[in-house]
Structures are given as structure tokens and as C-alpha cells.
């Protein structure tokens, strides 16, 4: 069967968050980077599984929302639920790039403008 176009709003936002209207934890923003922990999927609902499926590598919440066509707040709520259950974690930032590299990037960007 050919690919189907999906209506992203067919399942309403409150159903996706199972009635939660705010993230269970503070401090999460759309730019927070998360990554899947190796945990069994047992007991997770549909939305959580969909999110986990694309979180193999570190990914920011905004991108999760974009890839799954979710309203950003829905992504935040689902992700915070998964952080609570330990299915996702926030990886510590990898080794910082060298300050000189950042300076060069800055210079490059200035040159672009």
C-alpha cells in the first residue's frame, strides 16, 4: 500500500498528553536535549513509544515535535513524562569545543552577515 498522509491533529492534543496540561518538571524547554535510555518499553502508551522511537540519538524537544508533527507543548509534556519514568535522560553536554573554534565560528558568522 502506498504511503498515507497523516492528519497530525486527528488525535487531539489532550488525548496525546492523557489529560496533562503542563510538563511534570520545570526547566524543560524546546531546546533541551534528550536521549533515550535503554529501558524496556513495557507499559508505555502510544505517544511515548512514538517519541522514544525517534530518540535513539540526542535530539532537542523542538525536533521531536517537528518530526512527529506534535504541538510543542505536547512534546514537552510527553518528554517530561518519559524523563520521569527514566526512559529518556538529558545527556551531559559532550566535551566543549575549543574556545578558539568557537571564536572562529563567530568570525565566520560575522563574515557571513
Amino acid at each position: 500500500m502506498s504511503a498515507l498522509r497523516r492528519d497530525p491533529d486527528m488525535v487531539r492534543a489532550y488525548v496525546r498528553t492523557r489529560g496533562h496540561s503542563s510538563p511534570s518538571r520545570d526547566g524543560l524547554t524546546l531546546t533541551t536535549l534528550v536521549r533515550a535510555a535503554d529501558r524496556p518499553l513495557h507499559g508505555l502508551d502510544v505517544e511515548a513509544r512514538r517519541v522514544l522511537r525517534i530518540c535513539n540519538g540526542p535530539i532537542v524537544i523542538a525536533e521531536i515535535a517537528s518530526l512527529l508533527d506534535l504541538p510543542p507543548t505536547v512534546a514537552l509534556i510527553v518528554v517530561s513524562g518519559l524523563l520521569d519514568t527514566g526512559h529518556l535522560n538529558t545527556p551531559a553536554p559532550a566535551e566543549q569545543p575549543d574556545i578558539s573554534v568557537i571564536e572562529e565560528v563567530l568570525n565566520g558568522l560575522r563574515a557571513l552577515v
Binding site: 503542563s22 533515550a36 502510544v46 522511537r53 540519538g57 508533527d69 559532550a94 569545543p97 573554534v101 572562529e104
Partner: protein
Amino acid sequence: MRHETAVVASVGLAAVLVVALGLAAYFAWLSAKHRAQAVHWQETAVAQDLALVALLSQGLETVAASLQSTEPASAVFEVPDCLAGSDFVENLRILGEEYVADLHRVQGATAVSTRQQVEAEARESAKAAVKAFATAMVSTGINVSSEVAQALRRHHGSAVFATLTKIDHGVQQMLHQAQSYVVLAGGLLGQRWPASTLTDVVGAAQGAIPDYARVHPYASDRAVIARMVGPVKLILSHLLDNAARYSPPQTHVEVSAQHGHHGITLLIDDAGKRMSEEELKRARRILDGRQGVDILTMEAHPRVGFPVIALLARRYGMKVVLTDSNRYGGMCASVFLPEDLLTTAAAELEPAPRPARVAAPAPSSPALTENGLPTRTSRQPVHAQQQASAGRRTSTEPARPAVIGAWQQANRQARGTAAPPQDRAGDTDVHPDQEERPLDS
């Protein structure tokens, strides 16, 4: 000799005379008798005329007057004394009674046919009114829900989200009601969906009921063909609503499925009150189509669920069956979706686990952008950004590729090497609870 002859002659003459006199007297008597009879008949005829006129004027009038009342009256009319007790009067009475009986019969038949006609017309106009109203509600509801969905993407923040989802929940319930009445009034749902997975259809049905959070959703990659999405959603939402409404608030409503040879049967189980024998019979009569719902005899809070389900199931070839006493002691409703209403959902419905964007930054891979391969709309902005940045990168003279490369490198390191995509959620069509509670009914 002559004397003898004379005597004989005179005696004969006398005899003749006597006979003649006798005859005369007899005829005179006969004539008098006939005359008297003629007078009597004339009188009788006049009396009969009078009686007939009396029947026509008085008797039929009393009958006509009695038609207003429900009690059938007999024709009452004056009878001349001379006719009292005669056959003629008796026959007139019988005539009058038959007339009354006929009149009442015709009146009854006319009343019934008139009522039927008036009711049919009233039903048609009520249906048309309900349909027009409900269709307008559906159309407004669809617009509002689309607006709300867009607003949910546009505005961030928990407070806005809470308000918008509350509004949305109300709108979805209103849409659900309006669509039910459209179906009852013989209309079409008026909402188009693309072919969708059962997961999405169940999720959409969930959204239309007040107690959506108590439904344990079901996940399956099997999809319902486009024109069936609306009907299946409406049927499911009525069944879910029924299940949630009649079960204790701390219990769950469970959706599961049997993937059979001829199609899929969705099962909706609750742990609530069972229907009484009579209610179950009534519900089954409605579901079998043996008992419809009359739009003219609806109560203040009509239960339209089962009639709507029955109409949709019949129209689209599904089968809905109610079973009492499932494994939770509650009710189980099953919806059989024949294979020709289903389709196999493509895996492309879900984005692939992490596209290998870092490894293959070439954004304008023709397979993704040009030839209509199922690129999801949500990815387009990403590609667009990549294309834009790529375009700028090539066109800007002083940019040093080494710097951009270093930046990308750092970015890649920060993200860590993308793990090879593994299908973590490959078992999405297994209900979490089903793993422990295999379907035994």
C-alpha cells in the same frame, strides 16, 4: 201452457235479477274496500315519505353531530304513529345504523391515513431541519477545531495549552453530537480524513468523549481506508462513551483487537454495570436494525448512540455486537471491520528512527524532495533550512568551509554519534496490558 211458460219466465227473470243484484252489491263492496285500501296505502306512503325525510334531515344530522364525539350514535328520527313497528321503519333503522357504522369506519380510516401523512411530512421536515442544523454545527465545529489545533502550535505555555485543550475538548464533544444527529437525519459526516491507522482512529474517537483519559488506547499499524475513518471513529466514540459512562470512574475502558482472516474485530471492554436483559434486548434490536429511532418521538435526552451505530454499521458493512459479562464482569462491544475496509499502513506513517542527517547532509536528494515520495510536511522546514543554509554556504564568498566544517563537527560531537537506528517500538501493535492479559473471550 202459456201460463206455465210465463211463470217459468218470471222465475228466471227473478233469478237473474237476484244474481244481478248480488253481483252489484258484491262489486260495490269490493270497490269500497279497494277505495279504503287505496286511502290507507296513500296514508302509509305519505307516512313513509315523512319517515324518510325525518331520517334524512333529523337522523343524519344527529349522526353528523355525533361524529365529533368518540361515541358512535345511532340515527334518531321521528316516526309517524301509523308506521310504528312496521318493517319499513325497521329497515330504515338498519339503514341508519349501517350508515353510521360506515361513516365511522371511513372517518377512522381517513384519520389514520391523514395522521400518517401528516407524520410523514412532519418527520421529513424535522429530519431536514435537524440535518441542516447539525450540518451547520459540524461545519462550524470543524473550523473551530482546526483553529484550536493551529493555535496549539502557535502559542506555547502551559496556561494557554490548558485553556485551549479545554476548549478543544468541548468542541470535539459538540462535533461528536452534531455528527450523530447528521447521521440520524440521513446525512453524511462531512469531515474528511486521510486513511489512518487504527491507533489514530481509536485516539480520535477517544477525544470525543468526556472521560477520554480512562480509555486504555489500542495501537495497531493496520489502517482504515479514508472513507471509513469518520464512520469508524464515530462508532468507536459512541461505544467508548457508553463504556466509560456506565463503569466506575476508577476503572479503565480497554480497547483490544482480534486480527481475523476476514478482518479485524475491535473489542471494547468495560468493568461497569451490565445491561439488564430488557435493555440488552432493546439495544440488540436497535443494532440489528429491527428497531429504528423516530425523530418525532425523541425524549428530552435521547439516547442516540445505538441508532447511530446501527445506521453507520449497516451503511458501511460493519458489524457491531454487544456481549454481556466479559472477563471484567462488564459489557463488551465488538466492531467487526471487514478486510475490504482496511488497508496496510505504510511504515512511512511514522518517521524513520532518526534520519541520518548528520552522516548525509546532502539535502537535495531527489528521492526526498522531487518525486513525491512520502516526505512528511513536518520535515520540509528542516530540509528547507538545510537547503537555505547550503545555498548560502555556496554563494557566500568569504565563508571558510573549514570554519563551517568545524562548527558542524562540534555540533555532531555534542550530539554524539547517532546510534544505528534500531526499531525500539516495533511492537507498537501490542497493547501494554495485553502482554499480561491475553484475550480470553
